[in-house]
């Protein structure tokens, strides 16, 4: 009746916390490095008979994939999610001849050392944000790793330096033009790497800093305008990046009409709304 077309399978939401315990030395205390990762592994390959006849002889159980994450993490020297994702992907290709392609996604939570008396406490952390540091790697057997790093859920807001004027007016237009509005967004950003950089973490830090700095200093004529200039700034600062894609849904903050109460609203009182939400997405390529 039909035939099996595209298919893939694997394990998602494999949660891993790894603690590397550096010994105290000289007058330095024992510092612990802790990372929390959420891993997804997906395989493509010669799995047709499992679908059509229930023959599982080429199926690596997703439970085993989960075990693979923990076992490899034990001995891994990787200290970035990019490196660990490639290590996982390579292991699965090397050990499963029936697999033609593997993809590994990792999300890292924003744990940071707590400040005690102004100094980072060596073994205590707090979660500073919903922001996730992401990576997605893919490799076809015989090919190279494609690496896409990113940041998910970067929530930022400008109280000024944001305009929106000069747009189309038609019979369904009710939005007034404004030369000073709040610009808030929960940005999702991903970038493609042309080559493996010297340091994944340093690169990521530079991207994040360029995004925040450009967003802060930009005089925005539209969300599109800001996306473009943020992308330009990142490409300029980071030669290893070949493209950057940004999604910036508007978190609208609407000025409240206080006129019925005999009051003005000098750009002071707003109602933040989650829906509806403007949605703007673009890729800037080198």
């Amino acid at each position: 009746m039909g035939h099996l077309a595209e298919n893939r399978y694997g394990k998602s939401r494999v949660r891993l916390m790894k603690v590397v315990r550096h010994a105290a030395h000289d007058k330095m205390p024992a510092v612990h490095e802790m990372k929390e990762w959420n891993v997804r592994l997906l395989l493509q390959g010669d799995f047709g008979s499992c679908f059509t006849t229930g023959d599982n002889s080429k199926i690596l159980p997703t439970d085993t994939m989960k075990n693979t994450v923990y076992s490899l993490a034990r001995d891994s020297k990787a200290n970035t999610s990019e490196q660990f994702a490639m290590e996982l992907g390579q292991y699965l290709l090397d050990n499963n001849a029936q697999v033609s392609s593997v993809s590994v996604d990792i999300e890292e939570k924003k744990w940071e050392h707590v400040l005690v008396d102004g100094m980072p406490h060596p073994t205590t952390y707090s979660l500073n944000g919903t922001e996730l540091q992401t990576v997605a790697v893919e490799k076809n057997r015989g090919g190279e790793f494609q690496i896409i790093s990113g940041i998910d859920g970067l929530v930022v807001l400008k109280t000024t330096d944001s305009e929106f004027t000069g747009y189309i007016k038609d019979k369904l237009t009710t939005l007034p033009e404004t030369t000073d509005r709040i610009f808030a967004t929960r940005a999702t950003i991903v970038w493609g790497l042309a080559r493996q950089p010297a340091e994944f973490t340093a690169l990521r830090t530079t991207v994040r800093d360029r995004v925040l700095t450009t967003f802060a200093n930009h005089h925005s004529l539209s969300v599109q305008h800001t996306i473009h200039d943020v992308g330009e700034a990142v490409l300029k600062a980071v030669p290893d990046i070949s493209w950057i894609k940004m999604t910036m849904p508007n978190l609208h903050c609407l000025p409240v009409n206080l006129a019925p109460f005999g009051q003005d609203n000098p750009n002071m009182i707003f109602v933040p709304t989650d829906e509806p939400s403007g949605y703007i997405e673009a890729t800037i390529r080198r």
Copy 2:
């Protein structure tokens, strides 16, 4: 430095409730038809100057797109989300020469008439499930509408008739084989329409019924096996569908080890877990 590549924008999370009030007649009470839709509109086209110079002269504001949803809904005769999505898309293409492509997604909530004394109450509803009925339509200027309907969040469970044996065992295997396990999933299903059917609602009802019936009656040798046979059954029952894609993440229900307490567990006591989660996805084409 860089150049603008793929980009699109629009409005998401536009919530619409429409009530059509049929008059009472003969001895029938006034029945109200109510639908709750969540709409997303996205445009592609000649928007480059907005990104690069902040020139908004070709930008239809996302606020106006929101107004378009409400204004068109007022006069629309569409009584399915598929038809309304096409109506919205066509309006945006017809009225915006700078737009080259439009996509419209609609999610419909599972409101159903409440039963009172065994009869559907004509004007009272309850929300029977997290399940969403979905549609995504796309049209390039000058082309035809591509229509993809679907169901999101169909949570189903079999307490028997599900095996998993015969899979690869390697040094990282710990999963025991089983000939009787619980199979639970939160399925996401989408199907592509080869042509516009006589009745979108009847087609959707048939698909949903085939999915549930096949899932219930299937003797599953793996999630993949079930996905395949569900897909076959749908393609067989609905000639207007050219392909169906299913994602069936495993909602694992793990037997609890009661041996430490001197008890057996005759497939009776389970712990449902949300993570990690098996992830299986496949497309069946005619």
Copy 3:
């Protein structure tokens, strides 16, 4: 410096699925009864030294409480959450002399047998709603069980028979009066039992039916008015209930102003909003 005052501890989010497998007999197929429960156990008692000096000698670990849920479920004859909650509470009191008071809360998901050819399939379920059936029991050592059953997340909507007029108007009023509005709510309902009923499930079914029927047939002059009459109807129908408390937050559905587009809106086009939300709560006692 300070002293330990009120305190309690325990285990929350203990998820349990239990499958009772009835044998096939005569011409009836093997029917499985499946329930999914989420359990919370909390203890009060003589635990002060744990807080003040870290002496854990009177602490029953929360991990052991989790084990208690699974071990008792294995042999339990309870087929309602009310009975199992009492069984758990009694076990903890009987086996822990240092405990003065125990509370057990259980939420039950709305799994229902799937209909296949119009008949309930004996071993296949779907999740029909976000609604949870709840119970909270408490017992002080030497006292009686207090039993509070409930329904959480009952989402219902009336498209007519709901007014709101005659309220206070002051200088901050902008709401227009209406004699025909949409009334939607996500109701939370709990009721106190004067005595243990003959059948907990039958009682619960009657309460739910009275709530839905009264909500449907009521001509509502305010949310408060409906809450009151729903409560009266339940108390009238179920003698074993001594009080009922209902919370009915308004899920506002606001008529869209289409006048700017030259269109009327004959109570037809609405925007559902999640926030802000009216909040109305009351207890009706016998």
Copy 4:
């Protein structure tokens, strides 16, 4: 049949963003203060006839309460949520003779100025955490304001200095003792104020700092032990606080058993789990 007992009503999820724009002066740039608050207002009073007969003549509509938040915010000098909550409560009591008691809850999001070149950018913010700063005030007509401030969702983690030993062992015990475990929690903390402090913000900062510092430096023998010592430290540091209540659900991080793979796990590889979750709650009073 029944009679109306406890009842209250109001508006929840009233979202307010207020921007105070300080002018540039000397060489300082124009700094904007921005706060995002989520407000809930609840009234008790003489509302019985609304319930029993649908007489709304004493009902202040919840829509008007929402307007009250925005109108008062416009002219308010309050720059803490505590002060604004009292201002709102007092206004509602002063203008509604039928109201006997009012409660106002406010949650404040953790927006912080973005760092650009190491300096806080005057008009750009990022959301640094899911943590909410909370306040709940209540006042009976003729009484004083009760003020309870708090922090909701403070997610913290220690990689060492946490033991759990010496607890009860019974036939359902499977948990091994440990002298070095991960201690992670999503703490909810509230404190009662004996009097209005000189500065609400300074007090809140001191509490938060004492919580984090004590949590970091504590050698924990149990969650209870840590709660107690954190509470002591806060009471000692902040004389204006009369009691503090803390809830510290365990976010369990379980060591993974790598023995089946021939590997040890020197307290290095963990699986974080959301459920089940230990739940510990206590109040420390002066």
